[in-house]
């Protein structure tokens, strides 16, 4: 088992602080104790305070075993009790953002109206009116999700300066719930990439080791939550773009079922695979965001009419844990993901996580998913093909950067040549090839057939098991520059995540351990996969796992 991260006093600024009257770790009985463990559920305990407290008298208590808390609920509590104002909270996050941005560079645009919006929230609090569930919560939004009046570039120069005339449905819902969009986060151009080095603007660094990537394509969103530049953030996941950065940055990443969240306003990459997902520092925070953004949308005909339960209530209503809260849960460990080619440290973290699940009462069985390795080429055929179609709209005519030329064909060709990056160009060309006459059956159609095989193999496995687990990535975060010239090597890193997109299933990544690297270790995340629309089960299991995980603090070294 890799050693827990080294803590030094300078890191305390980013760590959780708690008021003296919270339930201290000493009152928690070890799980092996036979009698049921009664532990006050930390978020129903009104005394829980998050890292936001800037009160210097509050000394951090024991840092080794305090589990992550809900920042969203802490903010809510401090606003309702008038202990803090939304302006205080916003000011603190903005300060931290400005301080850390030169090192991490996770934002492409920082809002100019954050303080004004926070003051609006304060007026609302003062008036005694009802507060939305995200009132005063600072949210980062991935730059391929449209935000009215705020630049939305998709990480691409072809949309540099573009300000959409509308909010994406997910953004509209966040705002209606009282959230404040603090800025737009960096990403691989149009979602194509796994490191965020594919951004047309800047490279984001991993807060755990700034010589490493945060992952991609939602690298900015993951890094921002990890470095506490915002409370939660939105990302998008087409082939793992939320789950892989969550693993690299040591945060919780949620990929909902395809159709759970409206894609209206998400710049399309691969329409049959794209979903909007979210990052949080705890499972509860991810659940609260999912509550807000989920639901059918008449502007997205692929959005589901499946009812939206209160995902967070499944986590809040239990106020004590039994000694084996996951008793009866059948967990399948995907055999193909813990063998050859996977970093030894990652395998060891995942196996330790499996042991932890067993201690909580679950039974772990190895399962094999037939056709597992075919998912990767099938994914890239489908994604490139759909992208070649979706990105044809970026032609310099109605929006975005336009080349100065005399003739219409050159307008398209040059605007796209100047504005689109090399990875995007390559994928468009590959997709064009795969869809061209005579090749459709050989590539695109066959990839769709492979999708059927993969859907079936997941369905069969999830009939015998409640959830499946695997690493989210075969390795911890790469060094910046490591994967830049070798596309296939970069694609290979998506092996653990793409099949889930092909099958449209939900998946949750929860930090579970560390491997050697950087000054404090590099985080590793456990991926949990469920059947369609089983987010409540995943969140409940993830929450119990996270709250009982001993010895790990997923707070990056202070930069």
């Amino acid at each position: 088992m890799p050693p827990p991260p080294v803590r030094s006093p300078s890191r305390l600024l980013l760590c959780h602080c708690r008021l003296p009257f919270h339930i201290s770790p000493q009152t928690r009985l070890p799980l092996s104790h036979n009698s049921s463990v009664r532990r006050r559920f930390h978020c129903s305990a009104v005394s829980a305070v998050s890292a936001l407290s800037s009160d210097p008298q509050i000394a951090p208590t024991d840092l080794t075993t305090t589990p992550p808390s809900s920042h969203i609920l802490s903010i809510r509590e401090s606003l309702l009790s008038r202990r803090r104002t939304a302006a205080d909270v916003a000011g603190e996050y903005l300060d931290r953002l400005r301080r850390t941005e030169p090192h991490i560079r996770s934002f492409l645009h920082v809002s100019e109206t954050t303080m004004r919006e926070a003051e609006e929230v304060d007026r609302l609090v003062a008036s005694g009116k009802d507060l939305g569930p995200l009132a005063g919560v600072l949210v980062g939004v991935k730059d391929n999700i449209c935000t009215a009046g705020m630049p939305s570039t998709g990480g691409s120069r072809i949309l540099e300066g573009y300000r959409p005339p509308f909010d994406a449905t997910a953004v509209r819902k966040l705002k209606e719930a009282g959230a404040i969009v603090i800025g737009k986060t960096n990403m691989d151009e149009f979602g194509m990439g796994s490191t965020t080095e594919g951004s047309g603007f800047q490279v984001t660094a991993n807060p755990w080791d700034i010589s490493r990537v945060p992952g991609g394509s939602s690298g900015g969103s993951a890094a921002a939550v990890s470095a506490k530049q915002c409370v939660v953030s939105l990302g998008s996941d087409t082939g793992g773009s939320v789950r892989q950065p969550a693993s690299f940055c040591g945060v919780v990443g949620l990929k909902p079922t395809y159709g759970r969240v409206s894609r209206f306003g998400l710049m399309a990459y691969a329409s049959s695979l794209d979903v909007i997902g979210c990052f949080g520092a705890s499972v509860i925070d991810s659940a609260i965001v999912l509550n807000v953004v989920s639901g059918h949308d008449r502007f997205d005909s692929t959005s589901s009419t499946h009812e939206v339960p209160d995902y967070a209530s499944f986590l809040m209503s239990t106020d004590h844990f039994e000694s084996t809260p996951l008793k009866g849960l059948k967990v399948g460990m995907i055999r193909e993901t813990i063998g050859d080619g996977v970093d030894v440290g990652v395998i060891s973290s995942i196996k330790a996580a499996a042991l932890h699940l067993e201690e909580l009462g679950a039974t772990i069985t190895e399962v094999s998913l037939p056709s597992f390795s075919l998912g990767l080429p099938a994914y890239y055929v489908l994604a490139s093909s759909e992208a070649s179609s979706n990105l044809s709209r970026y032609d310099g005519v109605r929006y975005g950067n336009r080349a100065t030329v005399d003739e219409l064909n050159s307008l398209y060709g040059d605007s796209r040549a100047d504005g689109l990056g090399p990875e995007v160009k390559m994928r468009i060309l590959m997709g064009t090839y795969a869809l061209s006459a005579g090749y459709y059956d050989a590539y695109y159609k066959r990839a769709q057939q492979v999708r059927t095989l993969i859907r079936k193999s997941f369905k069969d496995a999830l009939e015998k098991m409640d959830i499946l687990v695997s690493p989210a990535v075969p390795s911890p975060a790469y060094k910046i520059g490591e994967k830049v010239n070798d596309p296939l090597a970069m694609y290979a890193g998506d092996i653990m995540t793409v099949n889930v997109n092909l099958a449209g299933l939900p998946a949750l990544v929860v930090p579970c351990g560390f491997v050697e690297g950087g000054s404090a270790g590099l985080p590793v995340g456990l991926q949990m996969i469920g059947s369609s629309f089983s987010e409540e089960k995943l969140l409940r299991i993830g929450h119990i796992f996270e709250q009982t995980l001993p010895n790990y603090r997923f707070v990056p070294p202070l930069l």
Partner: protein, 138 residues
């Protein structure tokens, strides 16, 4: 070996890329795939210039040279999909089996912020978005 693939069918068996996935220092390699070209199903290798024309991207000559081998390598890798027996497997257009029966009314609605749409157009001359002329292509 992939299902349905027999040695007698293959005219060429080529193990393409055994990739080093793990970080340096870790000796393991990940054999993710092999590439097979099945007799009678070889395709023309991708002509990058032609593809760029179809996709309306004006590639510089240096880019054509640079992309060519990378694209060919990935398309070759896609080739392993040929080797799998997919007889009687239905293609899945999307992830879920159920199709939403919800349809909204087919009535036009005016977008409330047309000014913002017009504002982002690079060249607008009410009511037209202006573009350069089309020269006839010989």
């Amino acid at each position: 070996m992939a299902t349905g693939m027999t040695m007698s069918d293959a005219t060429l068996l080529r193990r393409l890329s055994t990739l080093l996935v793990a970080r340096s220092g870790c000796p393991r390699r990940m054999r993710l795939f092999s590439s097979y070209i099945v007799r009678g199903a070889t395709f023309e290798p991708p002509d990058v210039s032609h593809l760029a024309d179809s996709a309306r991207i004006s590639l510089a000559p240096g880019e054509v040279e640079d992309f060519g081998p990378k694209i060919r390598q990935v398309i070759d890798w896609f080739g392993q999909l040929q080797a799998v027996d997919l007889e009687s497997v239905e293609p899945s257009v999307r992830a879920d089996a159920e199709v939403s029966m919800y349809k909204r009314e087919d009535t036009p609605e005016t977008f409330e912020n047309r000014e913002a749409i017009i504002r982002v157009a690079p060249s607008y001359d009410d009511p037209y978005i202006k573009v350069p002329k089309v020269l006839s292509k010989e």
